[in-house]
Amino acid sequence: MSNMDCDRIKYLLVGLREGTISQEEREVVERHVATCVRCMDDLNLIDEAFESLRNVEDEQVPTHYFTNLLPRIRERLEQQTEHGSGFALPLWVQRLLAPVSAGAVLACMIGMYILFNPMADTTQFHLRDIVSELPKEDVDGVAESVSYTTVMARTMEPSQRLMETLSNPALVSRQIERELVDDQLDHGHSLSIFLAAEHPFEDISDEDVDSVIKKLNDTSL
């Protein structure tokens, strides 16, 4: 039995138990499992998982929770409108607002510097390509969009380092690049700063992020 068979079959095992694969696939899987110890083990594990899941006790929800939810959402909306002059942030965002606002303002400053600095080296400041395409109101909107991402927490430390290097814009630019490129595993967090201005962040796909990463990687320092 080849590994290739197993690799193909194993993703059908769950479907076999769920009854969501075709009759033809079912026959192939059953024939394979009957002669393959590894896939038989996997199938047994899947059976055990579903058996355990079936026996899990139901979560508890406080009485009347759903009855009271809508009024509480309305209340939160009103509170945020009162305190935020129309610009609403979730509570946890408000907790992080100060350090992140600093980061967002810094990002805008860098963007503006890059945009309006006639001495800027065009090959070096490739981030300008991203930022300069954004209308001003969208750049301002970055602060709002980015508020909803965990980049807030993540940018605290980099922002401080950037602050220290602000006197040298070239270094700032490179530092940003490093933060972004080094962060490929979780790149969605940081890159959404830039992408958020063009899309609601929940619409950012992995492909969007990858394309920006590629753009950054393809640009020589």
Binding site: K10, E48, A49, F50, N55, E57, P90, D206
Partner: protein, 183 residues
């Protein structure tokens, strides 16, 4: 039961009918709560995120273009905000158990069967909590929400093949974790 479709309600909301938003909340609040609750095991955290989700929906509804269904859009916001909350916390949490599961009268002698069930429940919750992010969200949407892969694919913008692989690994990891824990 309000018969208006999601799109009709959204249109009415855009035309200034605030109550249309209420109908959408009431229509989806339970589903969204449970998606969030599976991803964030603590009720209070889940409650906070659920409110944030609907606040964000309220503020974004005017820009909803209808490229995807409202339901898909809403689920995507729910999953993303829940995962943001998890990432924000960052440190691996230890699971917060419901009082209903862990607290009982001190003089009560639990039958063995009940204890085993509670232990299994605890392990399952821990196992789900420890899944990698992608596997966790696929697992919640597939197992608990019973969504078809095609629908999940739209919500998470991932290929169906990738979803199946993630779901397989999630189920397998849960089984292995529980098995190991019960030894």
């Amino acid at each position: 039961m309000d018969q208006r479709s999601d799109l009709e309600l959204i249109r009415e909301f855009k035309d200034g009918n605030e109550k249309a938003f209420n109908v959408l909340v009431l229509r989806y609040q339970e589903k969204i709560y449970w998606v969030v609750r599976r991803l964030l095991p603590d009720h209070d955290e889940a409650d906070d995120v659920v409110q944030d989700i609907f606040v964000k929906v309220y503020r974004s509804l005017n820009s909803f273009k209808g490229d995807s269904s409202f339901y898909t859009w809403l689920y995507r916001i729910a999953v993303n905000l829940s995962l943001n909350e998890i990432r924000r916390k960052k440190t691996r949490r230890t699971f917060a158990f419901d009082d209903s599961v862990t607290q009982y009268e001190s003089d009560e002698i639990l039958p063995l069967e009940r204890m085993e069930r509670e232990e299994r429940t605890r392990l399952i919750k821990e196992a789900i909590d420890r899944l990698p992010e992608k596997q966790k969200k696929v697992f919640v949407l597939r197992y608990y929400e019973e969504l078809p892969y095609e629908e999940i694919s739209k919500i998470l913008k991932t290929s169906v093949g990738g979803l199946k692989a993630n779901y397989f690994h999630a189920v397998k990891k849960i089984a292995e974790y529980v098995k190991h824990g019960l030894r």
